[in-house]
Symmetry: C2
Subunit: 219 residues, 2 copies
């Protein structure tokens, strides 16, 4: 069984993996906020335990076992976030830190029960997919709001960033998943967008914000 530390490395490796499934030591060190020598020794441990493949001076690659393990930890994290929001009344900006701890609990029944109580949700409160019990992840292909055109109507479906500050910004503008937005105009010099949505005055969203909003185009 992976230690809590190993579990955190697996999650980071899973999230950092590129098209070739590779992750550099330096990226991993940055993500984990530890030094490169620490990562160097940890990848040796992870390899010894069968979670990844490592060769000197090469980027590392999760084994299929490693990928599955990572996905199952992410499953626990996202089920927890959804449970906290749907069953315990937390705001979407409050749940990440709690889930970061709960995800390490070893009690399959606990997460099974959450899953059942919520009717087997497929996305978390930020629109990210919840891996299934086999660790399979259903990738969803959303469009970034910043790639949409003036006149289009879209539904906010997910976020590429779920930092507390960003979520609090969205709260302050009454923006939540499912909100139907109409793009009134796009400023060509800074790519900011003027949008309207239900029961809310017209808002201007910066390019930075638009990039982080993932949408489904409905008209």
């Amino acid at each position: 069984m992976a230690s809590q530390t190993e579990e955190n490395y697996l999650k980071s490796l899973f999230n950092l993996a590129n098209e070739k499934n590779e992750v550099n030591i330096s990226e991993l060190a940055a993500q984990m906020q530890v030094s490169m020598p620490t990562v160097n020794s940890m990848v040796k441990t992870l390899q010894k335990n069968g979670w990844l493949i490592y060769e000197k001076y090469k980027p590392v690659t999760l084994t299929s076992n490693g990928k599955k393990e990572a996905a199952l930890i992410i499953r626990k994290h996202r089920l927890t976030e959804m449970f906290l929001v749907n069953k315990m009344g937390f705001g979407w900006e409050e749940v990440h830190e709690i889930a970061e701890q709960v995800e390490h609990i070893h009690a399959p029944k606990f997460f099974e029960r959450m899953d059942e109580m919520m009717g087997h949700p497929t996305i978390d409160p930020h629109g990210s997919p919840i891996p299934d019990k086999q660790g399979r992840i259903q990738e969803i292909h959303y469009l970034s709001l910043s790639d949409c055109k003036s006149g289009q109507t879209v539904i906010l479906a997910a976020l590429t960033n779920s930092s507390t500050e960003f979520l609090e910004f969205l709260n302050s503008r009454s923006l939540s998943l499912g909100t139907e937005l109409t793009i009134n105009s796009v400023e060509s010099y800074d790519k900011s967008m003027v949008v309207t949505y239900a029961n809310h005055p017209t808002e201007t969203l910066s390019e930075k914000v638009c990039e982080r909003l993932l949408v489904r185009v409905i008209g």
Copy 2:
């Protein structure tokens, strides 16, 4: 902040403390399932961190801070057990192991919310009191069923042992907290009791079982 290991020592110290608030190194080693030298070095750490008082060859004593910290961990454990039973549908025999992990989560809001959702419960699913937010514990003085007399009617209120095996035994006899029992007779040679209770055939309970059942006498 106490490490997870330190938290476990604090809990054990709290539970093992005698009338003089003292705990021996050997008792603590047995409870924690580690060697005495391990305890020896850990009590030095715990003293350094202000959780207890230690002098060579003397039993240790929790400081008031240590007692409070321990009670607050026990609070998290018992709130969790109650939440698992009342809000998530677990059986009282399933919750200890899960709570043993959840109790180490650092997220006051999480336990606050459980507490609110359950309407501020004062006992856990096994009848043990839940310490309040200040770490104060309301001691309840129950009678052991084994100290009751033939002809008395009692209500099962708590247990002195909550091992999975004992809880499964109680389940098999449909005994749960709140069950009203009438003592038909007490066998003098082995102190077993013949009892009757709602919707159930007459049962014989061994002395060992009776000792572990805490009751309120109602007639």
